[in-house]
Amino acid sequence: MPTAMTPALPATTVALHLENVTKRFGGVTALQDVTLTVARGEIHGLVGENGSGKSTLVKIIGGYLEPDDGSARGWVWGRPLSFPVDVRHQPIAVIHQDLALVDNLSAVENIGFPLNFEQRAWTPVHWGHERRAAEALLDRIGVQIDVLAPVGWLSPAERAAVAVARSMRTLDKLAGASEERLFVLDEPTSYLSGAEAARVGSIIREVAARGASVVIVSHHLAEINEWCDSVTVLRSGKLVCRRQTEGLTERDLVRLMLGRNLAEFYPPKPKRDPGVVALETQGLSGRVAEGVDLVLREGEVVGVSGLIGMGQNELPYLIVGAQRRRAGKITGPGGRNIRHIRDARRQGVVLVPGDRQQLAFDRTASATENVTLPILRRFVRRGIVRRRRERTHMLKLMETFTVHPPLPDQPVTAFSGGNQQKLLLARWLQTEPKVLLLDEPTNGVDARARADILQFILERAATGAAVAIFSTDLEQLAAVCHRVVVLRRGVVTAEIAGELVTEEALYRAVQGAAI
């Protein structure tokens, strides 16, 4: 047994130590000889591109996967850890992005039921006691909420707090009064606004301040830099480095993650050639948007940004008429008004939605069936959809849009996030749109696919389409947009154009707008 030969690690300094972790899936090596060390009371960041192996590592910590070939070793608070990790008996709590809360139950119920309210099965629950317990747990991380309201009504950060409190209760039972425990948060701030993310940050600091350790897996490098004491960087399943975050810039992190500079991942901005007005909105108002006037010109790439929930992600749906408008008039490239989505289609205004699963794809259909839907007529001869023509077209499209492997008959869900986004883009670019509206076009897409996707978008702009990118990804907007419009609570508060479009300027505009 290797554990006999290795010295016990001092529990006072190291919360989790894993070494020689290797994991292969078929011929693909997801992790190779990876080491992870988390000190006591430390907030540790785990970063890497999509496919770098960080999810696999989290799954190993959470006991969902087992490392290969038995050379892996681990310790939790100085005690040896066996694989697969039995999280029910270890002071480890893994909290996934979706939090696994039951939305229509209250915080009290969500916190209580994993332990069956610490009751015997058929005895009545002491709701008063449960309520006080839930409030006490939330108080420990500095959160005051209505613990009896359905958690679906809470803000994202409050929901995260409930998930943390739920794990704390489970760990309290395991570890007792000792704070020797480890929380692993997988993408805790995806889809959160700046203010909400900051609240999650303060919750995490509360947890760590009590002596527990926290591992954060995140794409938001700014948060990693701000919140974490140290960071582990993975690339292609290998450990790049472990180091303190002090003195580390976001740019350094990106270079460590990608192994090169970020600039190489953005295509060069095409020269601006301001054409005629392709689309114009006047006084557009929706749920958040309020009197937005937006002008899109041929050949121009316009970014629309703001903090999350400031209206920028509602706008494209309002423009094409997929969401009810309170007020406003939209004139399309044909000079005619756009009232509903089929008006938009007829005038060559297309929307590439952000949520692929909910808004873009039919999960039961093949890639081809999904992609060719808007242009199905092209393949019809004598009332019959000619599948061979359709397939030929699709194969060509997959080559153009660098979708690998080119398997047109596979279900669309079999493709990776990046490939799905390329397929979605292909679906709309094949219609040769005059106006291209993109809602968060690179969400959940790795850096390489992102570069391809932006390249396709810019190429389309270069051939005369008006492009608008509705996004909170400032770095990306700065890299590709000629002009960026910033919204605050649905109202346009800033417009930055030309040379002034830099990430710093956008950041100031977006944050400034929030004050």
Binding site: V320, A322, I341, R342, A344, R345, L351, P353, Q358, L359, A360, F361, D362, R363, T364, A365, E369, L373, P374, L376, R377, V380, G383, I384, V385, P411, T413, A414, R427
Partner: protein
């Protein structure tokens, strides 16, 4: 051994399993019941009796492909049965006119269902469940709950009882209807759009598909074909009863879902549905002949097969993820 794999691959057990089971059942019942099952007369009975089921089931295929349930089909069929008979028997209406009235009633029921689901945003399951109760009440009220056994025109029953090329005429009606629906759902672009609506209505809407229109039309189709099934029922049996449609509901659903596991697994399809109808029919008929004193057998089989079919379909979906 090498060839066994190839042969198994060719036979494609997954897609055609229903067909092999059908053949196996036929062989089995022919061996154990050579005098009653393995007769040309029995084949004719099975084919003809299932024609009614086939018409109502094929109608159901359309809304299910569009992602909606139509539980009112049996009610619509009952109403059509009662209406077409009542018009002839009580009011001596020309049979052709009576048939047209019944079909029109089916169109109207479908349109109301479509309105309830599309405009009033009532879940299709609930909306059509309510509608089926309304239709049952209407049918009962029309004839005061009394069966109609006389006064139905011979020209109508002739159309149902005719034999062409030694086969009951309804078999040909079913084949013709299946070909039309197959064209619409599998070959024509409209079928692709209906499936897109069924697969993800929000995505289809954002693609510019008029989801509401397709949803509405799919209910009109199922309503019309349910009424047609009712007309066929009267033309074959020559009687009407305000309860006569109900036994067709479960077999229709069982066949659609079992059919979705066949030929093109994972999607509702016309030929798979027909295969499922006859699979269920042969099974039920064979067991009935083996034990003629147990009339509950057919309900039992259909109930079990519905659950099994949906379970198989769910398993296929899980594997895709």
């Amino acid at each position: 051994m090498r060839y066994v794999g190839t042969v198994v691959g060719r036979l494609n057990f997954e897609r055609f399993s229903g067909f092999y089971v059908l053949v196996a059942l036929c062989v089995f019942f022919s061996v154990v019941e050579p005098d009653s099952f393995a007769t040309f007369r029995n084949v004719r009975i099975i084919l003809a009796s299932q024609a009614i089921t086939a018409v109502i089931t094929l109608g159901l295929v359309v809304p299910v492909a569009a992602g909606a349930f139509d539980l009112s089909i049996a009610g619509t069929m009952t109403m059509s049965i009662v209406l077409v008979s009542w018009l002839q028997s009580y009011h001596h209406v020309n049979p052709l006119l009576a048939v047209i009235c019944a079909l029109l009633a089916g169109v109207i029921v479908g349109a109301v269902n479509g309105f309830v689901v599309v405009r009033l945003q009532v879940d299709s399951f609930i909306g059509t469940l309510g509608m089926s109760s309304v239709l049952g009440a209407l049918a009962y009220w029309l004839v005061s709950g009394q069966p109609i056994v006389s006064g139905i025109s011979a020209s109508l029953t002739n159309a149902g009882r005719a034999q062409w090329l030694g086969m009951p005429a309804p078999v040909f009606y079913v084949v013709a209807l299946a070909i039309v629906l197959w064209y619409v759902l599998e070959l024509a672009p409209v079928g692709r759009v209906i499936r897109a609506v069924g697969g993800n209505p929000t995505a289809a809407r954002l693609t510019g598909v008029n989801v509401d229109r397709y949803m509405f039309l799919s209910f009109v189709t199922s309503g019309t074909l349910a009424a047609l099934a009712g007309v066929l029922y009267v033309s074959i049996l020559g009687t009407a009863d305000p309860n006569s449609g109900l036994p067709y509901l479960l077999p229709a659903f069982a066949a659609v879902f079992l059919g979705s596991t066949q030929l093109r697994p994972g999607r509702v399809n016309v030929w798979g549905t027909l295969l499922a109808i006859y699979l269920i029919a042969v099974l039920v008929k064979g067991i009935e002949l083996r034990s003629p004193d147990n009339p509950w057998i057919s309900d039992l089989c259909q109930g079990v097969l519905l659950i099994v079919a949906v379970a198989i379909a769910a398993r296929g979906r899980r594997r895709e993820r």
